[in-house]
């Protein structure tokens, strides 16, 4: 008889940061790490932190993308990876979708990536990666709401590590 898979969750303290998250609509899929953030994770890169360079540590931001924290800057970063804007997060065969979250100040605060079954993957800052059933599950005061969606053909989605470079030069 095979071992039953043990489902992992965030600590109750961390769960409280997400009013729409419950143990019926998500599970943790990794340990916590400070090595990469949600933007890197959505881009398929778990080796470095994605953010415009701010002077203290290695970070990566795609060449040619707008530097800054406006939602347009984040959209331009994913355009550099081949994504185009789309109207919503419904499952669309042949396409991989991402959701970009905007806080109350109109700045990007989080991103999530859709899986083939329609569920979503998120990396929660320094905390764990999670898989959540709806894009709204991680909406909160800090991340704001999913307000932009982008997509690209699934055939382009693989091997992002071959496409991205390393940290921004100092």
């Amino acid at each position: 008889m095979g071992k039953k898979k043990r489902v992992r969750y965030l600590s109750p303290e961390r769960e409280r940061a997400f009013p729409s998250l419950s143990r019926s609509n998500y599970e943790a899929t990794s340990d916590e790490t400070t090595k990469y953030n949600c933007i890197a994770y959505v881009a398929g890169d778990e080796s470095q932190w994605w953010q415009p360079y701010i002077g203290d540590r290695p970070t990566y931001w795609p060449d040619g993308a707008i530097k800054g924290y406006s939602i347009e800057a984040l959209v331009s970063a994913f355009r550099a990876l081949g994504y185009t804007m789309c109207s919503g997060g419904e499952l669309e065969p042949g396409f991989e979708k991402i959701a970009l979250y905007v806080n109350a100040n109109g700045e990007w605060a989080h991103a999530a990536r859709q899986q083939a079954d329609g569920s979503w993957l998120s990396k929660l800052g320094d905390w764990e990666d999670i898989c959540h059933t709806t894009v709204e599950a991680v909406e909160c005061d800090v991340y704001g709401k999913a307000s932009r969606y982008m997509k690209r053909p699934i055939r382009k989605a693989r091997s992002e590590k071959q496409r991205v470079g390393r940290h921004e030069s100092q």
Binding site: E13, Q51, R57, D126, C140, D141, V142
Partner: protein, 137 residues
């Protein structure tokens, strides 16, 4: 209203807070200000209090600029060189986001250009920098 109370309210208003009604008089920002002449135990207690608050309140943030703006992180920078051994120990243990504070306090960058793209080498460069200066890490 004290300055630190105003700072905390501004931070929570700007970045959002899961607990807007929290009594900030009980937060880590109430820690008395110490100087580098204080006993190391007192400084370590203060550092741990501020660091734990900073991690709890910014751990879910996806942007480093937001993490660095937190009042507890700024207060750790304000502790000056007395905070360096505690920061280095925490960096070694947690591999956390301490480079901004270290550069602000030390006013040095010990990371060789050829190592700047590798986070593990950046961490090791700072730990080696601390060892050379005799910090107990």
């Amino acid at each position: 209203m004290e300055d630190y109370e105003r700072d905390s309210l501004v931070f929570n208003k700007y970045y959002g807070s899961e607990d807007k009604d929290k009594d900030i008089s009980t937060s880590a920002l109430d820690v008395p200000v110490h100087t580098e002449d204080d006993e190391p135990e007192t400084m370590e207690t203060q550092f741990n209090h501020l660091a734990n608050t900073w991690k709890a309140e910014t751990g879910m943030l996806s942007r480093l600029d937001q993490k660095y703006m937190h009042p507890a992180y700024q207060q750790i920078i304000g502790m000056g060189k007395a905070a360096i051994p505690f920061i280095l120990r925490d960096l070694r243990a947690t591999r956390g986001h301490w480079f901004w504070a270290l550069r602000a306090i030390a006013r040095e960058n010990p990371v060789p250009q050829e190592s700047a793209g590798d986070i593990d080498k950046v961490i090791e460069a700072w730990l080696e920098w601390g060892r050379k200066r005799g910090y107990d890490i």
